[in-house]
């Protein structure tokens, strides 16, 4: 039996997470191939339905990566994102999905190492949670 390869969507803030991804690429830091990155101008733009839709569309895990609190280019976008992730977590739980499938985290500026760690950590976490029960 082949090992389960999770599909993970990473909503990444253009100003920090994406910058970190760039640095990672340039410095040869590898992150798992299970990740599909979606660039957003600010994580504050992500709405709860987007997060749920990702799971409906087949994601096994979703991660939202923003700037550190206080460093959001749009001031409070990341606070909003965090709240929305929390709300979506409880909505997922109501629908029978483990809220751990959805994660909120942040990277400082071009923190390539932290960025890669988040993605790899998420991959491992979702691998152990198993496939999204609402898809497979």
């Amino acid at each position: 039996m082949t090992e389960f390869e999770p599909k993970i969507i990473a909503f990444c803030c253009h100003y920090c997470a994406l910058a970190a991804a760039d640095v990672a690429g340039k410095t040869g830091l590898q992150f798992s191939p299970n990740i599909r990155i979606i660039r957003v101008l600010c994580t504050g733009k992500i709405e709860v339905p987007h997060l749920l839709k990702a799971f409906e569309s087949g994601a096994d895990g979703v991660v939202v990566i923003s700037c550190k609190f206080g460093e959001c280019y749009f001031k409070e976008g990341n606070f909003r994102a965090q709240k929305k992730v929390e709300r979506a977590q409880s909505l997922l739980q109501e629908a029978g999905l483990k809220p751990e499938r959805l994660l909120f985290d942040f990277v400082p500026g071009p923190g390539a190492k932290k960025f890669v760690d988040i993605l790899n950590g998420m991959t491992e976490r979702v691998r152990s949670l198993g496939p999204n029960p609402s898809v497979h």
Partner: protein
């Protein structure tokens, strides 16, 4: 506006899980503004339902739709919406209780080949104001005979826990109501406002028994404006 809250997911699920085609219809007015039954909430509920059904291996279709106002025929009389309702086995209305009832009456009048079942997705809670982002508070119970001119613009029927017309009761303490320390005593507010207006004398005469007939106690109320009818 009318303020509502979404019902718990498990309750909604139990209303619809025996059907195979579900339509979730939002309302574009009050409940959109109070973020309980607008487009976004329709999407959220629909997503949740699909996720839950798939997880439970149930083959159930969930469709989404909107009506600008479910309390008015005009905004539901649209072929696309009527078609969706026709195709559904059950409709979850994300409007207030008025919308749910009006939509039930409307679609059952328009669609004659089968009865249309509409269930509520929201708990309609009160008529209130938006105090801050994400904060609403009740302001009027529609008693049908407004007394605000006597009470400095603060409603004793709605905001006093005992609907006193000659308050404040003996439980008023430091500006708060006896029911809990978070709730303002309406009568304290009334007195302060009237003092500021120099109109405290307004509440010194006894306010006599209220006639509750214009309120809910007289059965469903109805207004007919003859000048608007042809």
């Amino acid at each position: 506006m009318i303020v509502a809250e979404r019902k718990p997911f498990s309750e909604i699920l139990s209303m619809v899980e025996d059907y195979s085609r579900i339509l979730v219809v939002g309302c574009g007015s009050c409940v959109t503004i109070c973020m309980a039954g607008g487009e976004e909430e329709v999407k959220i509920l629909s997503s949740q339902l699909r996720l839950a059904f798939k997880k439970n291996k149930k083959d159930i279709e969930v469709e989404e739709a909107m009506a600008l106002r479910q309390c008015d025929d005009e905004y539901m009389n649209n072929p696309e919406l009527i078609n969706k309702v026709k195709k559904a086995d059950i409709v979850i209305s994300m409007a207030c209780g008025i919308g749910v009832q009006h939509a039930t009456a409307f679609f059952n009048r328009i669609i004659t080949d089968k009865p249309i079942k509409i269930v509520p997705g929201l708990n309609t809670t009160f008529m209130g104001a938006n105090l801050d982002v994400g904060v609403w508070e009740e302001r009027c119970v529609g008693c049908g005979d407004c007394v605000l001119e006597k009470t400095g613009g603060i409603c004793p029927i709605t905001r006093c826990a005992k609907s006193l017309l000659n308050g404040p009761c003996g439980g008023s303490s430091n500006g708060k109501c006896e029911i809990n320390k978070e709730t303002d005593c309406a009568w304290h507010l009334i007195i302060e406002r009237l003092e500021a207006l120099g109109e405290l004398d307004r509440i010194k005469p006894i306010e006599m028994y209220k006639d509750w007939r214009p309120s809910h106690d007289g059965g469903p109320r109805k207004i007919i404006r003859e000048d608007m009818r042809i």
